[in-house]
Symmetry: D2
């Protein structure tokens, strides 16, 4: 796994609706936090879901993984680092690190893997779409 230098950081605050009866953020909501990280990454580097869509593709998630290290509570502010993994295949792999702003303690780490489907044909792209290769060149990843 070769993580690139491309990282975006965003901050969110835990909503009351995101807590569960244990009083902590429900584990499933971390996939929403990953989504926030993904959006921040896309905004910063021009690879937002809407950019992908405007190029004629959708990018459904085919794998998600999350390790939970520390409980978080209603009202807590957390930071999310989202880092691009530079892989040769036709996939979009992002790594997430969620941590506390003051003490830099890791709350959770994880990753998502997305594939590309042509919107019109729903066909899985076995090779990286042209727009993705251009994007990689622009960011000196190939």
């Amino acid at each position: 796994m070769v993580q690139s230098k491309l990282t975006a950081t965003t901050s969110i605050r835990i909503r009351f609706s995101e807590t569960d009866a244990l009083g902590i953020a429900w584990h499933g909501n971390f996939l929403t936090y990953f989504e926030d990280g993904r959006d921040a990454f896309g905004d910063k580097y021009g690879l937002h879901y809407l950019d992908i869509f405007n190029n004629g593709f959708v990018a459904p998630i085919v794998n998600v993984n999350c390790d939970y290290k520390k409980m978080i509570y209603y009202g807590d502010t957390i930071l999310i680092d989202t880092t691009y993994e530079n892989c040769a295949s036709s996939k979009l792999i992002l790594h997430y690190k969620i941590y506390t702003p003051e003490t830099n303690e890791t709350i959770a780490t994880g990753s998502t893997t997305q594939v590309f489907l042509e919107t019109a044909t729903k066909k899985l792209q076995l090779r990286p779409p042209a727009f993705l290769l251009e994007w990689k060149q622009k960011h000196q990843l190939i």
Copy 2:
């Protein structure tokens, strides 16, 4: 408000993810319970969201209202009665009663109002669509 005799009943069990830090079902999840009631109504009477869609319309919600009477907890089983309000206008108004199975205590009551948009044109239907009038005739509501 003239409620019809058309009522469907469904049962659900409160998920852990639906609870909040108060240990109760988060109030916003009741709109999901209403949705379950709406689906059960649609299944029973042939007015499911997919039936509406197959007739060329979508039915977005324009109002929702909910009164909360009693707290419910993880693992609780609840019943939802969904009742059709027979109104002359081009709306779909449903009333919901959520209650306990054994003691029949009211947990919440509420309603949703939906309008009809033609899927193709996105145009709001100021008069009831033909398929809705047929449906009403079939159920002796007009």
Copy 3:
């Protein structure tokens, strides 16, 4: 209904996970947006859920109402105004207006009503708790 001058404004961006198969923000998520407005109001005026909790009370929601005027989509940024209604009874009534930042178009309006329960006894407070009266005095509402 006497709305006070106490209003807080906050901004959010629609998450992908908040959309539904119609491509718009699912109506139930507006209760989460109201929650964001409520938190922003509480932060600004010192009546945050955690402030209430630290005074020995919880404030469950007993009514919610929402009128939907305009559809919103993934990636849209919206503004939420949350305004306090100055009522004499032992309730916390907040009004919400969700609107577009540039054109000021109304997306939705609504309200929530909360009651106060003493955390220790779970007893409903028929009179406003002392901390609430102090808060009102501080803000020249009584």
Copy 4:
């Protein structure tokens, strides 16, 4: 990984609120489907979250993993098999297989890992709690 013979099967139907703007069930909701599977397993084998709680423990999730194979849509009925992995350590590892009822096609597979904290002390249990060992004996896993 030694999966046991202990498997529970449950059925759910995709809610409209669970779909996203791609028209499919949003990937994050699969953690809720896993939760439904977990509850069904707990009900069948007497290891429900509430059983764990009544024994003086909570069991937060420390890892979740999900592979998505096939898109599912609003109204689809899916089956969830939840299988216990018999591990010696103080963990609760469950494997999930989500599939279509008629054609038996795999929709997603995944797992969750939970640890045990004593509710009173919040202390992580490095050895399996007594109630878990009893449960394993009862089910001939040790």
